[in-house]
């Protein structure tokens, strides 16, 4: 077992306190940096896509996992990011400027949605965001003069600071850089007042309000931050898709994002990343398996959504805290070996939930 001796307040501000954590993060980062040397282009592109989904997952995680505001229309922000970025690029706007404008625009749309959503709870919020998602998808389809409508829109190739980055590994490094930036920024957010006010609104709006948290403004902020991050993911996703069509950003994509954060574990940044790994590995693993399965099963259409459904159900039944929670248990097992007991993680039931006011 490792004991942490804290001698200064900054010890609690540091991200990685334990040696084990430092080593693990270092290994992952080194692997990600070295991946282009090891992996074939196909897998490298898949890995890049995974990073993009990790960004999108963190975007939704900030809103749903950390602020407790559900959104079933988050693919709309992915779409807003993708279309804004592609349209700006096709007008000759440089990559960096386009990314910043995309961040701002999707953030502002998010804040506008947050403004109207800040008074809604539970089912009403779920329905409202779902409707927003469908609405935006329809707008992409009908606004043909700008988005190319259902005919689609070709995404200009990736050019940063005048350098044409058309190779898979070049694009991969752009994804990686922005992913690390978003992870770092989101983690920063939750060790500072803004992020804490998000957590406060999630757990008790009532006492947050009495401690001086402007609950409506926090929800608007959270929608804004979430939408901006998801919009950034959309911009990067556009380069992977190379061709945008409205139905890519439909309800199914929103559900996929939701599935990702639930499977990963709500309320943690690591959860969003783990979720992204699952939904990226699953299709690849399936295409492997197809060769070994009998054709009647392997060739059936719709086996992927079926598996997604199965996964989400079993996570909710067996591990409501998601993969993150399982990971914590595994870690705890090794850290406290041989003292771990089955009951180590049995939580006491919440004792009083009556008379709570909204």
């Amino acid at each position: 077992m490792e004991f942490l001796f804290k001698t200064a307040y900054r010890d609690d501000i540091r991200f990685l306190a334990k040696t084990g954590e430092k080593i693990r993060v270092a290994i992952v980062v080194i692997f990600l940096l070295a991946a282009p040397l090891v992996l074939q282009d196909y897998y490298l592109a898949e890995l890049g896509l995974m990073l993009v989904y990790a960004i999108a997952g963190i975007g939704l995680m900030v809103l749903t996992g950390h602020t407790g505001q559900v959104s079933f229309g988050h693919a709309a922000f992915l779409g807003i990011g993708a279309y804004t970025h592609s349209i700006l690029l096709s007008y000759g706007v440089p990559f960096t400027v386009s990314i910043i404008v995309t961040l701002l625009l999707s953030g502002l749309v998010g804040m506008a949605i947050g403004r109207s959503a800040s008074k809604m709870h539970g089912f009403y919020l779920a329905i409202a965001t779902l409707a927003f998602g469908i609405l935006i998808e329809t707008v992409f389809g009908e606004w043909g003069s700008l988005t190319g409508g259902h005919m689609g829109l070709a995404v200009p190739s990736l050019t940063v600071f005048g350098l044409s980055l058309t190779e898979v590994w070049q694009q991969y490094y752009v994804d990686l850089l922005l992913t690390l930036l978003v992870i770092w920024g989101a983690a920063n957010l939750f060790r500072s007042p803004t992020g804490r006010s998000f957590l406060a609104v999630r757990d008790s709006e009532l006492s947050a309000r009495c401690l001086g948290v402007n609950v409506e403004w926090v929800k608007i902020q959270s929608f804004g931050v979430s939408a901006a991050i998801t919009g950034l993911a959309g911009a990067l996703l556009a380069h992977h898709l190379t061709y945008l069509a409205p139905d890519v950003f439909g309800v199914l994509e929103s559900l996929k994002l939701m599935l990702m954060i639930v499977v990963g574990g709500l309320g943690t940044i690591l959860g969003a990343i783990l979720g992204a790994i699952v939904i990226s590995i699953l299709p690849v693993a399936l295409s492997f398996l197809k060769d070994y399965l009998p054709p009647s099963i392997g060739q059936t259409a719709g086996i992927e959504p079926l598996l997604f459904g199965l996964i989400i159900v079993s996570v909710i039944v067996f591990e409501p805290g998601g993969l993150y929670s399982r990971w914590m248990k595994i870690r705890y097992f090794f850290e406290t070996f041989p003292y771990y007991r089955k009951s180590s993680f049995v939580r006491q039931k919440s004792y009083l939930k009556t008379e709570r006011m909204r």
Binding site: S192, A200, D203, S204, L206, Y351
Partner: protein, 257 residues
């Protein structure tokens, strides 16, 4: 810590769909005193707190804290006026650690710019450490250091009560509204609470207003007591005076047939 002011409640009333939860209640809380509100269940004690915290909109009446008309403020500005509170059913941030809860208690005193927070600029780090020092003072005062990194959902009921009190103190209120600080606590824990309330009053100079059923605790710490029943004012005075008041006894025990 701002200096305590006089809390003036005048002719306060609120209706919920025809039910007069509080009707025409007036009282003053002097700076530095400990004021208790007692009454049977459903008398409107917590409702008065929720009106002062601006969680409810009164149908009539005024609330002033010093020169400040509280009815002009939204709920999230009340803490800036120097009014802190706890809740009857403990409203902590369950999935966060004790430390995070207490730091949210500092929220009113912190600058929060999402962009500089996202980038964690040096100023943010400095302010985090500065506020952490304040939080540690409160942790020492209430002796909750051993829970510092625990999640609220792992804490016992008594510990949660203390943490909630600590979180309210982190906002550096000049007047503290305590909604049943001793409910659900055993005798030993109740003694601790009465001890800490004295500390808070004398060391921090905080005016205390509390809703409480435990008359022993009220007798120990309160300077004045107000009794209400069915939203109506019954009596006000020292704990003994109120205890002896026939109206109050009737409200608690009923009328002999």
């Amino acid at each position: 810590m701002s200096t305590p002011q006089r809390l003036e409640v005048r002719n306060l009333s609120i209706e919920f769909g025809g039910v007069h939860a509080v009707e025409d209640v007036s009282f003053d809380v002097e700076p530095g005193e400990t004021f208790a509100i007692i009454g049977p269940n459903g008398a409107g004690k917590s409702t008065i707190f929720n009106l002062i915290s601006r969680l409810y909109e009164p149908t009539a009446g005024t609330i002033h804290y010093g020169d400040q008309n509280l009815l002009e403020l939204p709920a999230h500005k009340i803490v800036h006026a120097g009014i802190g509170r706890t809740f009857q059913n403990i409203e902590l941030f369950e999935q966060a650690t004790v430390l995070q809860n207490l730091l949210v208690g500092r929220h009113a005193h912190m600058r929060k710019n999402p962009l500089s927070n996202f980038l964690f600029l040096p100023g943010v780090r400095k302010s985090e450490i500065k506020h952490r020092e304040k939080v540690e003072d409160i942790i020492d005062l209430l002796e909750i250091a051993q829970y510092r990194d625990e999640r609220i959902s792992d804490l016992s009921y008594g510990a949660r009560k203390n943490v909630e009190l600590a979180r309210a103190l982190c906002a550096e209120p000049s007047i503290l509204l305590l909604d049943e600080p001793a409910s659900g606590l055993n005798n030993e824990e109740t003694d601790d609470i009465s001890f800490w309330l004295e500390d808070i009053k004398h060391d921090l100079g905080v005016t205390l207003v509390m809703v409480e059923h435990d008359m022993n605790l009220v007798g120990q710490v309160a300077d004045r007591v107000m009794a209400i029943n069915d939203g109506h004012f019954l009596a006000i005075g020292t704990p003994d005076e109120v205890r002896e008041n026939p109206e109050v006894q009737r409200a608690y025990l009923g009328v002999a047939e």
